[in-house]
């Protein structure tokens, strides 16, 4: 059933259920749909309705005080389906190394390995409307022999992202949840506080308010916070002891706010006349029908696990962007950036000749093979995504201003560090050396060696993670390996806020896998 919270009468009513889920995004809906045919009763509380509403969206308002970051009111969506309502749909599991404790990588290591999570990853494929749990490029019709070095190792590799339609979770699963007799979804239901017992060790009920001030509460055996990577921390900090927040005995809630760091990291001057880039699908992807029906996939490239270990580097993924002549709209910004910062513009032209001479190869511009969409390629830009090191000083916390419901607004203090930049620059150098070694060409890194700044277009992505990080030790994590909040008997967290490290892959598939696992745990526990 899906209903409007205003229909819960009378004011001050208490709804009784087995499981209360806070948040109707990818995580919350994934947990809820697992109970569609269950005997356990579930209440899902969603702040928004089925369409974007500015008053509700403004409940996300907050401020940035750290490194420049997205407006908190615009980098996520607060209505049924959550941020999947503007999600691009790219999916991939985290790599095995992303789960490991890594040398030179503080706070790394998940409490379990990738193999352990794979059964839920396989089920998450269906939830995200993807093909089979198979990310080997050769199984997607790609001929490894046609992928040039250095994209085939040893330090870098070509991978596959599967493209979800993208699944708008609110739309895709609305009918299912509407028909589920044991699942009650309430829209316009904002949880403003979790009410606990006196010792703060057990949640008794969720206090709910509509924007119009209609109040009621939900009493449950178990509570699952699935409100998003920032909002999960906000709700915990808004509950429990006034000075500390719930589950925050160790002052960890909201810390370790981590995301993927995005930037144009460099460009490739291609000098190898044998180079073919038709193995690259580009961002639009291509359909592959080898699995019995058409599934879309996108190529992406990344640092190999062996290189991450050998050089103590965090995960690094990149895509190739082709600056066509005439320039298409998508690369104009990057082109302008290049021109603005390039006070040695002749060197690129010089190098084309130098490298061509030393390798005895024909001129770059004379090769008709190197074109895309019928246009010659002027430059290959590297669109990079670096994994951010977990940093306890990178955090979200409560501000002093209050929203329309009286909740304290969020303050985002995102802090990428010098170490993040150094590792990103080192990875670009490694890639540049590999491109040179195999004779593909030369790379220009946009990291200046005489400066500490990031490339000028660097930004933190909308992959909010780490604010309720998972660790078996309560001194190092907010939730335990089962995503239960340390020290609170019946409270769980779903979503990317539990990621101890963000890894290299886009997070939604992992969010869904962890949500499925949590649903299984809850069902087992309740049974």
């Amino acid at each position: 059933m899906i209903a409007d919270a205003h229909g819960v009468q009378p004011a001050g009513a208490v709804l009784e259920t087995d499981v209360c889920i806070v948040g109707g995004g990818a995580a919350g809906i994934t947990v809820a749909r697992e109970f569609a045919n269950s005997r356990q009763r579930v209440v899902l509380l969603e702040s928004g309705a089925t369409q974007l509403d500015s008053a509700t969206q403004n409940l996300y308002a907050g401020t940035n005080v750290g490194y420049s970051y997205f407006d908190p009111a615009s980098c996520r969506l607060r209505y049924f389906g959550g941020t999947t309502n503007h999600w691009g749909g790219w999916c991939m599991p985290l790599d095995a190394i992303d789960f490991q404790r890594r040398e030179g990588f503080p706070y790394s290591g998940w409490p379990f390995d990738r193999a352990y999570l794979e059964p839920w990853y396989q089920r998450a494929q269906e939830v995200c409307q993807l093909g089979p749990f198979d990310y080997a490029p050769s199984h997607w019709g790609m001929d490894p022999a046609k992928i040039p070095r250095p994209f085939t190792g040893p330090h870098f590799h070509c991978g596959v992202l599967q493209a979800s339609p993208p699944t708008r979770f609110g739309e895709a699963y609305r009918t299912m949840l509407q028909a589920a007799t044991q699942v009650n979804v309430y829209l316009n239901a904002n949880v403003v506080r979790l009410v606990t017992n006196e010792s703060y060790r057990e949640v008794r009920e969720a206090l709910v308010s509509t924007l119009g001030g209609h109040l009621f509460s939900v009493r449950a055996k178990l509570f699952v916070i699935a409100a998003g990577g920032i909002e999960n921390a906000r709700l915990l900090l808004s509950s429990g002891p006034e000075s500390a927040g719930l589950g925050n005995d160790r002052d960890l809630v909201g810390r370790f706010f981590t995301t993927h760091i995005q930037y144009h990291g460099g460009e490739i001057l291609v000098s190898d006349d044998r180079a073919r880039f038709d193995f690259d699908t580009g961002p639009d992807g291509v359909d592959y029908t080898g699995f019995g029906r058409a599934y879309k996939f996108v190529t992406n490239f990344g640092l190999a696990e062996s290189a991450m270990q050998r050089f103590s580097l965090p995960s690094f993924k990149f895509r190739l962007m082709y600056a066509l002549t005439p320039l298409d709209e998508g690369v104009n910004a990057a082109k302008r950036m290049l021109e603005a910062k390039d006070d040695w513009s002749g060197i690129k032209r010089d190098l084309d000749t130098i490298v061509r001479d030393l390798h005895r190869r024909p001129a770059f511009e004379e090769r008709p093979a190197f074109s895309r969409e019928g246009q010659p390629v002027g430059a290959v830009l590297l669109r990079c995504q670096s994994e951010q090191f977990p940093n306890p000083n990178s955090r979200v916390r409560l501000g002093t201003e209050r929203d329309a419901l009286g909740m304290r607004k969020i303050v985002i203090d995102w802090r990428p560090t010098a170490a993040d930049r150094e590792k990103a620059a080192a990875t670009l150098r490694l890639f540049g050396a590999e491109v040179g070694r195999v004779g593909l060409g030369r790379v220009r890194s946009f990291f200046r060696e005489d400066d500490v700044a990031w490339p000028s277009d660097m930004f933190g992505d909308q992959h909010h993670a780490g604010t309720t990080r998972m660790h078996s030790n309560p001194a190092q994590g907010v939730v335990d390996p089962n995503c239960a909040v340390h020290g609170v008997a019946n409270l769980y967290v779903a979503g990317s806020s539990v990621f101890p490290t963000i890894g290299g892959g886009n997070p939604t598939l992992t969010i869904a896998a962890l949500a499925l696992r949590l649903a299984d745990r809850i069902k087992d526990g309740l049974a």
């Binding site: 460099g266 001057l269 040695w344 002749g346 060197i347 690129k348 032209r349 010089d350 190098l351 000749t353 130098i354 490298v355 001479d357 030393l358 390798h359 005895r360 670009l428 150098r429 540049g432 050396a433 590999e434 491109v435 040179g436 070694r437 004779g439 030369r442 790379v443 220009r444 890194s445 946009f446 990291f447 200046r448 060696e449 005489d450």
Partner: protein, 175 residues
Amino acid sequence: MMLCRSPGRRRFLELLSSGIAVGYWSSTGPIDLAGADDFERARQILVALFSDLRRVRAVAAAYVGSVASEETSPAALMRAILDDLSISTAAGMTVAAIRGIIAERMRLDFLYNDIVCINGWILSKTEARLCALAAWDMGNENKDKTVNVGLGPRLWRHPVDDPARLTRAIIRRRP
């Protein structure tokens, strides 16, 4: 690698980009090695790898501006480029053969991270050294092209600002 900011080298960079250093010499034609010693033969063979020496100047200037002083002479550059290959052996090789050796040197540079970063461009030290060697050569070749004032010696041996004095110094250096 941090780019060197010493005034002398900066002045050289300015000269490179100014009208003073406008000499153009291409090595695409046949190399006249008659009467040259092994060092000169090897040097000219290396320089002959480049089809257009105008293209090496910016890289050369940036590299020389960034490296330690022991590499700022043609002899030192030759030693660094050729490594364990003797000058006499190199002097007896063809341009094609030396190109193969240089390609392998560059490959190994990249493999072992023996790289330099010039305005962001990640280059092998060998190719940067070759550019530096060729830029020096621009000062000593083309005797009949009077506009060439000899950038190499100006850079490495004669830190003076007077182009006329510089030219005299170069002429004195010639064998």
